[in-house]
Symmetry: D2
Subunit: 337 residues, 4 copies
């Protein structure tokens, strides 16, 4: 770490800082500059987090971290791309993967109809929410285990593996019994107990980015999964909160090259949540593919206007099939299948 | 709700929208303006959330909500201020309450020393973290149940009721056994399962505001507590994320008059987390008192520079006692005790 | 406009609101809902902005605008795409346009070398800053008129039209004498006097988006150009401020489909400023092309590490030529030339 | 500056970085840590801004600034508080100053009535906008020079010095002829040409904070005033843009102790713009006084509901007089007059 000292300290004041740095297990290294004295604290920062407390000392102007804080998710730790495989579907490989299905599972008819349509159009994973986190306690909270059973039924009918959201530690075992991939939602992106519970099921985990999360925080949240002995982690960008009111969120496609550079884990884009508007989904998908995303997670409903949640952002079955066609030249241009 | 139609619709296209509004349980009321036709949908919005799905219709330009979404926490539902009482301490009444103690419980000596000092200086609630949510899995995660036992011991010695953070549904019963007030942290502010678990313990709940949470979302998260039959809710502002890098967060004191206007629940300010800097705490406390906060939650440590977490924002024991003196004229000016 | 009244008003209190609405030129239309009474004010909102003052009335809960505020820049006003032409280069047409050159003009050698290299690689507009807005008064502020003269010389040598930033009303005439397109920078995006001065020169104007600007505000700033009788307006997305610290700004590619939907004016992407990192430029360009941008504005320097400003985000001459090749399949996929 | 190198560089790659640091005028100082090698570049950063270009080098992981960038506005440069005096009114001294008046000058009657009322209630500076920056070109843009003349007339009648906004370089001389203090608005906070023009008039300058401006950027914008030989600078916090939609802006009172710590210049609070709601003004004023602000700038109108701009945030004459009474105990508690 780098500690910048305030100007005009006495030697005694300075010595106290150096002694504290030593006490905490680092070797101090002093550099006297023109306007400031700077101390380098030599030692592994990931084992001595407490140096930041020096900010509280009257002698100290600032403390700067030198090392990155993420380890297992980092590209340094694993230079090749890693892949996640579930029931034969590989995410992070040469094939661009499409995960599609309704925002919420509402009924057997709705789900089966959607599952068959998306499978036919080329999706290889089925998405569907059985437990829904809702801003208000008075909104539809999902069908619960009944929804999970319907998802399992749809998997049986279509062969598509299932991704669904886990939102309670208490449900981890139950959800893992039915689902092939566990999704952690944006509001729970720093619910570390839930991340640990998800990791421990052994199922692949798709971690959505929180609404106001820095990329470093996202990578560190992912670190909770890998540090709990689960290597099957995917990151999913689904829009951040900005000042814009035209869209519900602002899809941050710039995360694609950044996550690819910093981490070996696959990156998935959710263009439906990203803008909250079905009419923007096609353009967002084209951008995501061109920029190197590994998969997209997309909301499809037989009748969006009657959906029990988030109708404005779901594509119709026909809209989805048409989109799959439109994207082909971009997938080819990006060198994917 | 208000539905704004796109210009130049045919009567048939318009009729389809009106039919859908009726089907969803509202009575449509058409107003023809100069540039747009607007439809008022008469009905209780809190029972028919799904009208927003009309945004997905090609005929619709926008859908606007008329009613506020929070009910039980609202000032309309309970015009008087409500108070929360624990072991004789009343929050929300004429007395300005001080909750003080270390960020993390580290050892018996550290905790007892702090508890006695803050009690002597005038604090009436003891704070201390036993379970710590940390951005990185490699940072100190708290002493766990051992920390809770130390808190109970400190309560016995000083008579101060205890507030501590709950961060896992699985711990709700255990933490409630020791604590007098359960704190829900900023990262879990929309972890609705945790809010429900906390509410169900029957203990008072202090709900911190999330880093990028709108006030309406905060009130709705509080609604999860009251809707689960627990009326002892307090809101706690602890700083929002802004672009500023001088401080860790930006303490948003403007929430004090706003929460007071919209809700009957007490509002608490956390000036330690708010800026992440001990040197700003005094000024933040003065502002909070002048603006009508009911209590403050403040971090105090016998030796901040050696703290295991967040040293930069903790006050020393002497600093805390001095602050208590400085604040007296402001408490008097605000008409509090 | 829609005015939502507070609950439980007396008829007299309500009548006062209706009278005021009439006085301001609107026809009030009352709708009584289950929980709230709502008044529609019939009339052209773009001629009566003052209704928002009703927010100050104790009887009023909220005032909502129905119409969009932008006129001349809107797609409604001009359903076809508009194009901007300068010295034979058409922006907004079938050809994807590349504007390239150094962040700052530093010397004749630097500029001529760059101009020739970018022309050879396929750029059709030359960019270069002669006046630089700098956060600190102690940083390099540009060569001024000397820089403009060098740009004119480079235009003569290569035939490329020139785009350069205008940052003072007092310079409008001088800059317009040399430049083919005037660029308005992010910090001046709501400097309306400068926008008017730029519009009045009659030269095409490229308006960058402000750091924290909503799209509606951006469109309205563009409205200042069209309302001053200059139809040659382009919007340029160059990154917004977010909480992310990995990049200097966050390039918001989602503006491409949104601006295309709301406006007829061309949309240009600046991937260099967007991330502030040369290593992200290629990915950003691919996304921009796939999503339908009309042009990109890109920083190129013979030796980025020695640049007098923003070295970290400039491409080398070789890097630029290589990028032009990489982008070809994406331009083809997007159906552009 | 501190340059962090990438791991596993060859000696030759490292030597190239060191050579470049020397070439740019610094002395490099190498520290070999456990995971990274760090180079301290010894030299005055305020004279060699270009080191950040090293970020573009493949050998470099990050470049960190050690020194603060502001000089003349800094507390280090001028340890005592500075004061601004105009027509006998001292801002920054023991007396808490109140600047009050209408958002826009609308007519002689409106202005004179307001001026007399605020003077009687205890204000000592008169505010009023003659040139108004408006988001849309179709909104009221102010009375222009006619408004300035009315302000001068009101000054003559009441003896109050005048503060008014300057929004065009071309108006600097004219506005300075009438006004006693020039206000630079939030949208122009980084319009450096305007800041220079304002500074050169020799009149005191009140610099509002931009909507998304970091404190360092604000201080550096102020630096443009002092660096142009005008020492009469005041900073004015008027609310930042956040995600909150309950208020128009979020008044950031935490700037008061921060600006006081970093700078010697007076700090003024604008609670009217800060929230955009008259009903929050009293609470904001109390907080501002308790936290050590030097003055407040407040909007008052004889009939807020009929105001031509920003009616929702203006106080009535009676409301203003009442507020002045309510604030007295807080001014006393803060040790001000």
């Amino acid at each position: 770490m780098i500690i910048v000292l305030k100007p005009n300290l006495s030697r005694k004041e300075e010595a106290a800082v150096l002694a504290e740095i030593k006490r905490l297990g680092y070797t101090p290294h002093v550099m006297r500059g023109v306007a400031r004295t700077v101390v380098g604290a030599i030692g592994d920062e990931r084992e001595h987090a407490s140096l930041e407390a020096l900010n509280a000392w009257p002698q100290v102007e600032s403390v700067m971290r030198v090392q990155k804080r993420h380890k297992l998710v980092s590209r340094e730790a694993h230079p090749q791309n890693s892949t996640v495989t579930t029931r034969g579907v590989v995410i992070g490989g040469p094939k661009f993967v499409v995960m599609a299905g309704p925002c919420s599972v509402e009924s057997e008819t709705q789900l089966m109809k959607t599952a068959e349509a998306v499978a036919k159009a080329g999706a290889t994973v089925l998405r569907g929410g059985a437990f829904k986190p809702r801003t208000s306690p008075y909104e539809f909270q999902g069908l619960g285990e009944k929804g999970l059973k319907l998802l399992a039924k749809a998997r049986k009918a279509t062969g598509l593996p299932i991704i669904t959201e886990l939102l309670s530690e208490d449900h981890a075992e139950m959800v893992a019994e039915y689902a092939d991939i566990l999704q952690i939602g944006a509001r729970n992106a720093q619910n570390f107990q839930l991340l640990i519970a998800a990791a421990k099921t052994g199922k692949p985990v798709l971690l959505k980015r929180g609404l106001a999360m820095k990329i470093e925080e996202w990578l560190l949240a992912g670190e909770y999964v890998l540090a709990n002995n689960n290597r099957d982690l995917m990151f999913c960008e689904r829009g951040i909160r900005t000042f814009e009111t035209y869209t519900r969120n602002t899809l941050d496609l710039s995360t694609i090259p950044i996550v690819k550079r910093e981490s070996h884990c696959p990156i998935v884009i959710d263009p439906s949540q990203g803008g909250g508007r079905a009419d923007l989904v096609a353009s967002f998908c084209k951008g995501a593919i061109a920029m190197g995303a590994d998969a997209r997670l997309i909301e499809v409903h037989p009748n969006p206007a009657e959906a029990w949640s988030d109708g404005a952002q779901q594509l119709s079955l026909e809209g989805f099939a048409q989109l799959m066609g439109e994207l082909k030249p971009f997938i080819a241009a990006a060198g994917r299948e």
